[in-house]
Amino acid sequence: MIAATSWLIPSLLPKAMHIPDGFLSLTIAGLAWLLSIAALAYAITKTNRQLGEKQVPLMGVMAAFIFAAQMLNFPVAGGTSGHLIGAALAAILLGPWAGMLVMTSVVVVQALLFQDGGLIALGANILNMAVIASLVGYLVYAIMQRMLGGRAWVNLASAFAAAWLSVFVASLACAVQLGLSGSSPLQVALPAMGGIHALIGVGEGLITMGALAFITATRRDLVESRPAASQGGDL
């Protein structure tokens, strides 16, 4: 009875959830922190060399939009919802390194201020949603651009694929962390996380395409000036 009606009662609404503390072992959480810090240190160095003045406000706008959009859970299937990550969009527009910093600011504020994601698990949430999702999204987009050229439909198709795969791979990374932590066996966590996020990734793809189309229509120069993307990637 409670399960059947709880969705009607606003105060019982479950909200978006990043990895809370308790799901990961201290070893895995610590390892994720180390990997995230290393990636962010590199991202800061690269951004310091690549970021143009014109892209500075875009970093703020991207972080603002991604934070807001992450609050908008959309239903997927079987009483499950999903929400945007936004890393592919940020990486396509800003390059993977500035995109990573934008995503990190979002995930850090969510943990520190909104208790969305644990403080010990924050390293893993940064690793999955900022580092891995940005790199995967950027690489997929850059590779498809190089193979298919920069026509308008290619841009949108690449954005969809980049967004979908960024979510899928990030969810697998989370599953591996859960598996290695002993929360859920890998043979359970991998298909469960991958399966549901294959659906959520479709939403990510559609939102990413829409946002990119809007930005292309209003400010083509921002899309074309993203760091080194037209050269197929400068990692």
Partner: protein, 99 residues
């Protein structure tokens, strides 16, 4: 659109998105669904402290309004943080270039 106009429009769009945040799906998200279905939801530890838990600003009677205001607070803070990071790390020149 000029750069300044554009980023103001972008920020306004982000703020506008928070207005529909009370309409977000209440269903558990992907990770929560997996944790419930596979029996490790109970492992979730209490947060060390709470400031704006569950994206509901405390002390506001209307939960919808509290959610929107929580969104506005978050949007403005991450906007400032990312803008600050970009400002601190930018290279001179509109396109960015290797120094």
């Amino acid at each position: 659109m000029r750069n300044k106009t554009w980023w103001i429009v972008g920020l306004v769009i982000a703020l506008a998105v928070t207005l529909v945040s009370p309409l977000a799906s209440p269903w558990p998200d992907g990770l929560e669904r997996v944790a419930e279905d596979h029996g490790f939801m109970d492992a979730e530890a209490e947060p060390f402290y709470e400031i704006i838990p569950d994206y509901v600003l405390p002390g506001i009677p209307s939960e919808s309004l509290a959610t929107i205001l929580a969104g506005v607070v978050g949007v403005l803070i991450v906007f400032g943080m990312a803008l600050g990071a970009g400002y601190a790390l930018r290279t001179r020149g509109p396109e960015g270039e290797a120094r």
